[in-house]
């Protein structure tokens, strides 16, 4: 099995032997995964396989859950993100996240996107305006909200809210964007728009997406990792993994024998 995503692209995130315990329950049994810069990587697998859990290790969102223990190493550009001196706030600025449920703040669209910057200390109104517009454009939602920038973000549809959430993450200009099943609560048309958005921004960002939708993974990702019961079964170029998987479990899962 090929462990490194691509020898030619620069590896932005490298992880080795990642174990995660919820109390005494071991949810991840040693995951080795590397992600190349400006690639879209998909994590697939049945419910409870640990794909979201693994994803949340990459920006230390699991720190918020009491009783979680993580061992092994995860490095962002060669620096251990679990080292004691690491500033988690700084890490999360570099590794942004979009969640399963659209979760815009109960503010206006403009405020939603500008908020991260504002609280990070950006005061310059013209810079804020520009960032808001760029981010909303990148997230392919600008045309739908440009006349209603000061309406509550909550007044938009779920699919629009999710793209506002993507724009909100892009506004703080992270290097890596993590997406935890971003389309599972959305209709197919909205999902397709999110997928377009991701393809749209891949030149600027590294994207890691968890999805239970295999077609989605095959449509948008460069690399796909298949996880099962807390183990990494296979990680390869998406085309190779879908057309010609090495492991029998992968092929069984892709063919719908279990799931």
């Amino acid at each position: 099995m090929e462990k490194t995503a691509n020898t030619k692209t620069k590896q932005i995130i490298t992880s080795e032997d990642v174990h995660l315990y919820y109390g005494s329950f071991e949810a991840l049994h040693g995951i080795d995964l590397n992600f190349g810069e400006h690639e879209i990587a998909a994590l697939i697998g049945p419910s409870g396989c640990g794909k979201s859990t693994y994803l949340r290790c990459l920006n230390r969102m699991n720190d918020l859950i009491p009783g979680v223990k993580i061992t092994g190493s995860i490095e962002l550009e060669g620096n251990d993100i679990y080292a004691p001196k690491v500033d988690v706030v700084e890490l999360r600025k570099r590794v942004g996240m979009v969640f399963q449920q659209p979760n815009p703040f109960p503010f206006s669209v403009y405020e939603n996107v500008a908020y991260g910057l504002r609280l990070a200390g950006v005061r310059d109104k013209s810079l804020l305006d520009e960032r808001v517009e760029t981010s909303l454009k990148q997230a392919a939602i600008w045309d739908e909200v440009k006349d209603n920038l000061y309406d509550s973000a909550l007044s938009f549809s779920g699919g629009q809210q999710q793209r506002i959430c993507v724009a909100r993450v892009l506004a703080v200009q992270p290097e890596v964007v993590l997406l935890d099943e971003p389309t599972s609560a959305l209709d197919p048309i909205s999902s397709a728009k999110i997928e377009d958005t991701l393809l749209n921004i891949r030149d600027k960002y590294t994207i890691i997406i968890v999805t239970h939708n295999m077609q989605q993974a095959s449509r948008i990702s460069d690399r796909t990792a298949f996880l099962l019961n807390g183990n990494l079964v296979e990680y390869d170029k998406t085309e190779k993994l879908f057309m010609n998987p090495e492991k029998e479990e992968t092929s069984d899962y892709l063919n719908g024998k279990f799931g």
Partner: protein, 295 residues
Amino acid sequence: MNSKAANNVATGVIYLLVTAVVGILIFLLGYILITGVPHVSIHFITSAAESFRAGGGIRDQLFNSLYLLVLTLIISFPIALGSGIYLSEYAPHNWFTGLIRTAIEVLSSLPSVVVGLFGYLLFVIKFNLGFSILAGAIALTFFNLPLLTRSIEESLEDVPNLQREAGLSLGLSRWKTITGIVFPAALPGILTGIILSAGRVFGEAAALIYTAGQSAPTVSYTNWNPFSAASFLNPMRPAETLAVHIWKVNTEGVTPDALQISSGASAVLIVVILLFNLAARFLGNWAFKKMTAAK
């Protein structure tokens, strides 16, 4: 009995109970307002109370109630906000914080007479504050804190966890997430909590009899120096509030129109509390709109 009949019976009983509750409420409000409002006039609200003659008003008592309320909120809100934030955002769920929560609940069910006597012994006597608005405000803070802390904690907890995750994942610190996202989202609820607890403070009498005192010395409303004994802003002066005044007029009033005064004062008290509740709703809605769509 088939399920349809059972359903009808249950619905009927529920309607009956609701009617009873609403009926009692309307009767009480109606009685107080009908007997009280005829005695309320501009003169009644704007003139000082008389000790022996008829025709006294409630100007000072009304002002004292409002002033006491403001002072109480100034003292209790920061404390309640801090502890509410701690309990909702930082406190781990263990035996110790469980103990704190239980203690808060016990405190909230403390009889106000006990709070008053405690305040009397500790602040009025021991700390030598004398009968004063300040002693009253501190006693009412004891009374008010549990309610306010609880409502702030609950308003903060009502903010979905997804909002906190969203804030943290944007690279905001925990404190900035709380002050910048969770707090504004909880603000309408917090505001409602403040105003509702204010209504209770406004109507409180027992705790104040022993702390703020039962006399309303004549004060000058043009003297803005809070350190001057004659100033209406002086927090060290004794101050009879509206609720205390009603109690006093009824129990030991010697003016010939004691009954009319207490009816009128009751009506004013009820109206002010109603206004508080309406204001709570209005302000809550307004704040929510303001927060959910800037501009």
